[in-house]
């Protein structure tokens, strides 16, 4: 043991800071990030400050965005979709993940079932929902058949359709994330709480939930960012000219209908800022709660 420790003890005498040759291995990743993320982002940022009509000044695109309700209104519309969808997804995944925290055949089955929507992608889901929820779809036929409604209710081409698709496509992701956080909590803690007199509800409230909160904040942010950038389902299942004219549609129109790329860049920048603001807000809330290890003690 002591012999092993010797080389380490001589380390400080080695030559002053040299770049570890192994660090070059990170180069492809650095180039990748620079080329595909940093550069486009920087380019878009600069572009957004270079409006087509240069005479209007470098802030013209942003001024236009916040002057026109057709533009600035999209923030509220998108939030109005993304926030409820995120809350529903996070809210529903907690009790289900809690029920399934013990590894079992059922857990594997449900996890597999939930991975499928992730692999399908939003367009296919939107297409499926379109027929399923449409006026002649199964949902309406069943409702009519049971006599619960007199005429088909509108579930697509409006707010409901987009919200539903955000839940369907977002839930598996949120659930898997939540499940991995919840299974990381040492079940012995709940046993300890049991021996001290905590019933099932108190075990959840006093032990699992507080230890899960930091993870839930991350799950919330990731789910929200995905929901906020909704595009395909807002077009296919929503009312892209009305209630579900989300911010990405505005960017799309600017770029590919008006051919105003600087304006589209400005919209994209604002979209990113809103996402960043919400994320920072939620994650800074994590500072208020316990974030340490979730084990019961040493080793």
């Amino acid at each position: 043991m002591t012999v092993d420790a010797l080389p380490a003890a001589t380390l400080p005498e080695r030559q002053p800071v040299r770049i570890d040759r192994a660090a070059w291995l990170a180069l492809p990743a650095v180039i990748f990030v620079l080329a595909l993320f940093i550069f486009p982002f920087g380019y878009g940022l600069v572009l957004s400050f270079s409006p087509l009509e240069a005479a209007q000044g470098w802030l013209a695109n942003y001024a236009k965005f916040f002057a026109d309700p057709a533009y600035y209104g999209t923030i509220a519309k998108t939030l109005w979709l993304a926030l409820p969808a995120t809350l529903i997804n996070v809210g529903a995944s907690v009790p289900i993940a809690y029920r399934m925290r013990v590894p079992s055949g059922g857990q594997r089955f449900v996890t597999t079932l939930l991975v499928i929507p992730i692999t399908l992608g939003t367009v296919l889901i939107a297409d499926g929902l379109l027929t399923y929820l449409g006026p002649q779809g199964w949902v309406n036929r069943i409702l009519l058949g049971l006599g619960l409604v007199d005429s088909p209710i509108r579930l697509v081409h409006n707010y409901t359709g987009v919200l539903l698709s955000l839940v369907v496509s977002g839930f598996p992701f949120t659930f898997l994330l939540t499940l991995s956080y919840i299974t990381g909590i040492d079940p012995v803690l709940a046993q300890a709480a049991r021996t001290l007199g905590a019933g099932p509800w108190r075990q959840f409230k006093e032990i699992y939930f507080p230890l899960l909160l930091p993870g839930l904040a991350v799950a919330f942010c990731l789910t929200f960012v995905q929901a906020f950038s909704v595009f395909p389902s807002a077009v296919l299942l929503g009312a892209p000219a009305g209630a579900t004219r989300v911010i990405s549609i505005a960017a799309y129109e600017a770029a590919f209908e008006n051919y105003d790329f600087p304006m589209a860049s400005a919209v994209a920048m604002i979209m990113g800022l809103v996402q960043l603001a919400i994320t920072v807000l939620v994650l800074s809330g994590r500072r208020l709660v316990y974030r340490g290890p979730v084990g019961g003690g040493k080793g």
């Binding site: 300890a192 019933g199 006093e206 979730v294 019961g296 003690g297």
Partner: protein
């Protein structure tokens, strides 16, 4: 510390032929045991012997497959863990990492709906008892292993349970701290004055702590007795092996003498003496070089370790049996010498001693 009783005092806790199976694995077989109030009982055995299963069954964390547990005349094995009100100290402490020491200790009282002021008082008393005064507002992660252990104990006893269950609570501590905490646990047990069930695989720990030891193997209770009983009078080969009788000579028995090749060893029969084939067991500490004579075994020394007060030596008999012994004089590998052991230190069991009486637990009560 004078204790106010939550559950009323009890006289005895009784395990009545409890069984627990996991699939086809029988982890606990027909265990019966009566624990009196004030008693410190250790469940001792190698890993996989069922001792932790027994503890979890007592705590209510595992349902029984059959049998019953009685607290005086109240049947408690049907109650869920949270209704039994036993204090439990877990092997890895299982402290709530997001709660301060004070909150951790007060958790059980809060679950019982005890008034805030009373919780504060009782938690303070418990904190003083385990000497954690200046750490009361820290999180468990900021404490050392020994301090975490104290919190775990305080958390279990502050609810004034009739029974405190401890699952190898010292196994994560270093040797010095283990000795300190051992004394501490005994002190706390005495001052709380209820009953403690303590699971361990360390015979020394069990001998030093317990009033009564339950030796288990393969889900069976092999012997119940006081530390002196077990140490000097193990009832069967399993218990003897576990109690440090590490030397074994098998041979033909005739009365109190066992013959192994040219060696004739006098001993004490510890069983019915039903078979002629027997096994004699004795401790390394009782075997030492002697001038040739009665109860002597000629060996060739094959290994010597310096053990401070004495040398620990390994010798091989003419028949190839390895024996461990002690020597005050220096010996070297290759020496031929005679090792002797006093007849009263040699215990003789029927060969195939696994045929131990199954109803032993009942007999030991």
């Amino acid at each position: 510390m004078t204790q106010r009783t939550d559950h009323g005092d009890f006289r005895e806790l009784r395990l009545d032929r409890i069984n627990r199976t996991f699939g086809s694995h029988h982890a606990l077989r027909d265990m019966s045991l009566t624990i009196q109030v004030g008693e410190f009982v250790a469940l001792l055995g190698p890993s996989g012997c069922g001792k932790t299963t027994a503890l979890n069954c007592l705590a209510g964390l595992l349902p029984l497959s059959s049998g019953a547990i009685w607290l005086d005349d109240r049947r408690i094995d049907v109650l869920p863990s949270e209704k039994r009100g036993f204090g439990m100290v877990f092997q890895n402490y299982a402290l709530f990492p997001h709660m301060s020491v004070r909150k951790n200790i007060g958790f059980g009282l809060a679950m019982r709906g005890v008034a805030k002021r009373e919780i504060a008082e009782r938690v303070d008393r418990a904190i003083r008892m385990v000497q954690l005064g200046q750490h009361a507002d820290k999180l468990p992660g900021q404490l050392s292993g020994g301090q975490q252990q104290r919190v775990a104990i305080a958390r279990a006893i502050v609810i004034e349970p009739p029974l405190v269950l401890m699952d190898e609570p010292l196994s994560n501590l270093d040797a010095k701290l283990r000795l300190e905490m051992r004394a501490e646990i005994r002190r706390i047990h005495t001052s709380v004055g209820r009953a403690t069930v303590y699971v361990t695989h360390d015979q020394e720990e069990a001998l030093s702590l317990a009033d009564r030891i339950v030796v288990m193997k393969d889900g069976l209770v092999r012997q119940v007795g006081t530390p002196e009983d077990l140490y000097h009078r193990p009832a069967n080969l399993d218990v003897a092996r576990f109690m440090g009788f590490r030397n074994e000579l098998a041979g033909e028995a005739e009365g109190n003498v066992i013959r192994h090749r040219d060696v004739a060893l006098q001993g004490v029969r510890r069983d019915a003496g039903a078979t002629r084939q027997a096994v004699a067991v004795f401790r390394p500490e009782d075997l030492e070089p002697v001038a040739a004579g009665a109860n002597g075994i000629p060996v060739t020394v094959t290994a010597v370790e310096y053990g401070g007060r004495e040398f620990h030596l390994t010798g091989v008999t003419a028949g190839g049996v390895e024996l461990l012994a002690r020597s005050r004089e220096r010996v070297v590998v290759g020496d031929r010498l005679t090792l002797g052991v006093a007849p009263e230190q040699v215990l003789m069991f029927d060969a195939g001693g696994d045929a131990a009486p199954r109803g032993f637990a009942a007999a030991a009560e």
